[in-house]
Symmetry: C2
Subunit: 346 residues, 2 copies
């Protein structure tokens, strides 16, 4: 299924293979000789071309005597989330939230038992769910992401993130973030880069947890959104979430989202799919020296291996362009000593 | 003319009185005894109840032993721009930019000579211009703010701000910012508040100069916006500004804009009109300790005196609610020793 839907959050429903995939043991730690911890900003990165390229870039653009020096205000770094900062298999994690919300709301929506696409979700009938197409997916998103206040939605996400488990990895979803990328975020911030998430995922789905997980403030998240409305509510003002699309922050939407929220081109951008290509090109068009990082999912043991024909989306054009233009192409299997933070303690 | 239009940027066209107003000399410096400069974070504020309230608030919420302590991540401060950080008389400064753009574009739009509302602008016929209503104003905004790339628009604003002069004060517009508010921005930042502009003005009109003038990063500006579109443009990507409204960041739009861009309620908010009331109420509904500051324009000599029935908008409800609820009501004439930075050197 090589479809490439443009519905909000880019949900593509195919997770049969992934759901059945056994939990993979973490790989052995790499044995290459690390830099001393005190001087190594990226200890989970294998000391090879990618790590060297990142460190060389940061050193060059923060050196005030360099012709490539970048003033602090221009040090904007943007990171895709799904597949770049945390895993995205067997489907985007936000979709599990949506499915759990359908289950939770079913009692107050008795009609859903006989109404697609909800019937398929409630009966765990993934084959039928997959046949519902974009319209069905959009119905699920709107039914589960709209109709609350912003405060209520924040609470729902916060509760879900605290307890929900990944079906394969048997870990909370926020444990499935990439340790090397956490180090990269810290390294960039230590060098006065302002770090943003720019994701096709829902902005309000990410904000409740990105501060504690990534150290990224809520106002430095760019994502897909639905429209909202302010109500005075007799002196207890609320903001209501409406069942209307606002921004689809994917593909061409990413430069648009970057312009809307950040107002300047990034100098550093990281992605892993065709949905990130426009962001990477937009970054590449900056007159300042830039670094474009493309994460290639090559580790079938510790994470997942997928690229060109993955069921969750297309990766062809991005991968080919990263290669053709000499962008920093991260090979997860060979470049990352550790994938997830919890492996460090194993 | 007590109309209260909701067109983008809240332009209301009446500036005959203001245009004729003579340039006012700055008032004498207040003679009350100031705190030593090294310990006084707000030297241009008269040492009275408003200054004391601001300092007491900041000291209390940043004291980790206080029951009102606010964690750094929650220290969000939002400032209206027009009439709160810089002047807004005789009309919003952005409107002068729009009028100058009409003049500049006239050569390539020969039809405008016979077409309202442009004919009135070109003939400097303010009476007719005032009769064009919201539709006419929107036409001017779209003709002057859309149709370029984001880069081109940035350049246009940057050039204009560098040279355009206020018709009454005979100063560049960015000289007409309020010295006491610059000190307040600094004071809040020194105490780890993250400071945002939340303005009915155009976000892309403010971004080119707010960093140098206010020290506020481009990504910490919330404003009215038009829709944009990304184009690959044969490998030279651009973002085009479309003639379609995106967000009107005024009145009910301010809490919506705050939620969109910031993702949490402010604890500190400053405004000066009914257009700011919803932002102040939204801030007031924060469970953390808050301060709502309302600037009352009372100085007809050094700035302008206007409130309830000003031609540029309504101020009644905001002023009355500020008084009724005990918000920090700044009296510009008696609370501010200096209005504009250039007065310090006079």
């Amino acid at each position: 299924m090589k479809s490439n839907p443009s519905v909000q959050f880019c949900f593509v429903v195919l997770f049969v293979v992934g759901l059945l995939q056994a939990c993979s043991p973490p790989a052995e730690q790499s044995t290459d000789t690390p830099l001393p911890a005190a001087t190594d900003p990226l200890p989970s990165w294998v000391d090879g071309p990618r790590k060297q390229a990142i460190i060389a870039y940061v050193e060059e653009v923060t050196d005030s005597t360099s012709s490539s020096f970048i003033p602090v205000a221009d040090r904007i770094a943007t990171f895709d989330n799904d597949g770049t900062l945390w895993s995205e298999q067997p489907i985007y994690f936000q979709f599990y939230f949506a499915l759990d919300r359908v289950q939770a709301l079913a009692a107050t929506h008795p009609g859903w038992k006989n109404q697609q696409p909800f019937k398929a979700v409630l009966e765990n009938d993934m084959e039928t769910l997959m046949q519902q197409g974009e319209k069905g997916l959009l119905e699920i998103v709107m039914a589960t992401h709209a109709g609350t206040t912003t405060d209520e939605f924040d609470s729902l996400v916060t509760s879900w993130v605290a307890t929900a488990q990944h079906p394969v990895k048997k870990r909370r979803f926020t444990e499935l973030v990439y340790q090397p990328m956490l180090e990269l975020l810290d390294f960039l911030r230590a060098n006065d880069f302002k770090v943003f998430i720019v994701s096709g995922g829902g902005i309000e789905f990410m904000r409740p947890w990105v501060e504690s997980v990534y150290g990224i403030p809520k106002d430095q998240v760019v994502g897909s959104s639905i429209q909202t409305e302010y109500e005075y509510n007799d002196g207890n003002p609320i903001i209501k979430r409406l069942a209307k699309i606002d921004l689809i922050d994917d593909k061409e939407g990413k430069p648009v989202g970057i312009n809307r929220y950040i107002g300047r081109r990034p100098v550093f951008a990281a992605g892993n799919s065709d949905g990130d290509l426009q962001m990477l090109r937009w970054t590449d068009s900056n007159k300042l020296k830039t670094l474009k990082l493309y994460v290639h999912h090559t580790d079938s043991i510790r994470e997942w291996a997928y690229d060109r024909d993955s069921p969750i989306g297309r990766f062809d054009t991005g991968l080919d362009e990263a290669k053709a233009k000499g962008w920093t192409l991260v090979d997860m299997k060979s470049d990352w000593k550790t994938i997830y933070p919890f492996e460090k303690n194993q």
